[in-house]
């Protein structure tokens, strides 16, 4: 009896907090008309916004993958002064408001900022600042997935490879990388999701110019504020579809990670 009460309390909570809002996407698109949502999705500025989002992710994800793996190796395998600080800085974007990130970049590259006057290319309200913002907010994910795995596998195999004459590079490609690959992939999936969904940091540095610096998430707000509900829900549905794919990939990867 009590078991069932607890089960339905938990499932009821999830249904109200999680499923009820999500199901609204479909309900509203039905109400606004599928055709209207589709035409908003295929509008030139919307297609461009999705392109910008993909470009940002295509730059930020590989960068953060390399950085995350390097960082995780440094944190787990090496001792150096300032290691605690590095650890804290890697986690910081998880706890920090994206708006703070955006504002920091805005001030750094703005007209009166430290780097603003000395750089000749347009950083703010253009792709470079948006890339920096996206990289910043998605820094932690790969490192955080890889660190525990590296700790767990230990370094016996790496030392064995060393004594057999393998170079550091060979050891990394043949021993370390294969044993952390699922953690890396899991981190990459999370990083991608974060890059696609970023709003706050990009909102400040991009200027949100339609057809130029607008990302998919900014486009949702743009449509909403211009009372084009069908468009806002259409893009939301597309982003929600991506999120579901991400969830599916994560679920598929989890058991494999445990078995490896």
């Amino acid at each position: 009896m009590r078991r069932l009460a607890v089960r339905y309390a938990a499932l009821g909570y999830l249904a109200v907090v999680l499923l009820a809002p999500i199901s609204m996407i479909f309900w509203r698109i039905e109400a606004e008309g599928v055709g209207k949502a589709w035409s908003a999705l295929t509008e030139a500025d919307t297609v461009h916004a999705f392109k910008v989002t993909l470009i940002l992710a295509a730059i930020a994800v590989p960068l953060n993958t390399i950085f995350g793996v390097t960082c995780a190796l440094a944190i787990v395998r090496r001792r150096f002064p300032g290691k605690g600080l590095l650890n804290a800085f890697v986690d910081l974007p998880l706890a920090l408001s994206p708006v703070v990130v955006g504002l920091s970049l805005f001030l750094l590259y703005g007209r009166t900022g430290w780097l603003g006057p000395s750089i000749n290319i347009q950083v703010l309200f253009a792709l470079p600042a948006m890339v920096l913002a996206t990289v910043f907010v998605s820094v932690p994910f790969v490192a955080r997935e890889v660190v525990p795995t590296l700790r767990e596998i230990g370094d016996e195999q790496e030392q064995a490879a060393h004594t057999l004459g393998a170079s550091g590079w060979q050891t990394f490609w043949r021993i370390t990388l294969p044993s952390i690959r699922w953690a890396v992939i899991y981190g990459v999936v999370l990083t991608t999701a974060r890059c696609l969904g970023e709003y706050g940091a990009v909102a400040i540095v991009s200027g949100g110019i339609s057809g130029r610096t607008e990302t998919a998430t900014l486009r949702v707000q743009d449509y909403y504020e211009n009372l084009n509900q069908a468009g806002a829900y259409g893009i939301s549905l597309a982003l929600c579809g991506v999120a579901l794919v991400v969830l599916a990939v994560m679920t598929l990867l989890k058991p494999k990670e445990g078995a490896a």
């Binding site: 907090v17 910081l92 408001s97 920091s104 001030l107 709003y199 706050g200 949702v220 909403y224 939301s236």
Partner: protein
């Protein structure tokens, strides 16, 4: 370079008018109202998560029912979904065209509800692994000695999962304090009523008051650092217990 340099620029420009300038920006009535609202709502959200997150984690670990793996996967949805979409759908559910007849658009209650959505996974995901590894012989021993179910939960299970709950709650709190995407559409951003600190920073920076925005942003930064330090300290305490 990517993380530290911008933050240094932020801190320095928040103090460009000296300490008194910093203080007058932070203590302007609108900023104070926004910060107060942010902290109160985030604390409420974190507390709700402490209970509901533990409950969901418990059911996912100890209960068996058809479709459990789907439910387990769906818990991560708020991490995968752009938060602006979360804001939009919450507005659809509780807004002017609400199908359930509840109108909460542009209220503080709506901010609370959408933050519950966004922070849902934190406590669940920190408590779940602890519950999975928990040795159940302790609970059986307590039961065989005549302890009732509530006593078993509060005296055996809860003390063991408490560090997990606390670090999940701390992360949920930090996230709730910093959240913007989910709130910016939903809250209407009425100064003194539904304007939270992150939206205040956005509005001030867009209307040219960079120093005022930076001052409040530095406070948010300090809160994030404090939360991270707290989690680090709790982790150290927890591992010390394990070794002892």
């Amino acid at each position: 370079m990517i993380v530290a340099l911008p933050i240094a620029a932020l801190v320095s420009s928040s103090r460009s008018d000296g300490w008194s300038g910093f203080w007058s920006s932070v203590s302007s009535p609108e900023a104070v109202a926004a910060l107060k609202l942010t902290l109160v709502v985030a604390a409420l959200v974190a507390l709700t998560n402490a209970v509901s997150g533990t409950l969901v984690a418990w059911v996912l670990v100890r209960d068996e029912f058809p479709g459990k793996s789907v439910v387990n996967a769906l818990v991560d949805l708020p991490f995968a979904l752009p938060t602006i979409v979360a804001g939009l759908v919450t507005l659809a559910l509780y807004g002017p065209d609400s199908p359930v007849g509840i109108h909460l658009a542009f209220t503080r209650a709506a901010i609370y509800l959408v933050l519950l959505f966004v922070t849902l996974p934190f406590v669940v995901r920190t408590v779940q692994p602890v519950l999975l590894e928990l040795d159940r012989t302790m609970e059986e021993a307590a039961r065989s000695l005549g302890a009732r179910e509530t006593a078993v939960f509060f005296r055996i299970v809860l003390p063991n999962v408490l560090p997990g709950i606390l670090s999940g709650v701390a992360m949920a709190f930090a996230r709730a304090v910093g959240e913007i995407g989910a709130i910016v559409i939903l809250s209407g951003n009425l100064p003194f009523r539904t304007e939270v600190a992150s939206v205040y920073v956005l509005e001030q920076s867009q209307s040219g008051n960079a120093t005022g925005a930076a001052a409040v942003a530095v406070l948010l930064l300090a809160i994030s650092f404090a939360v991270l330090l707290l989690i680090g300290a709790m982790r150290r305490v927890a591992t010390r217990h394990e070794r002892a």
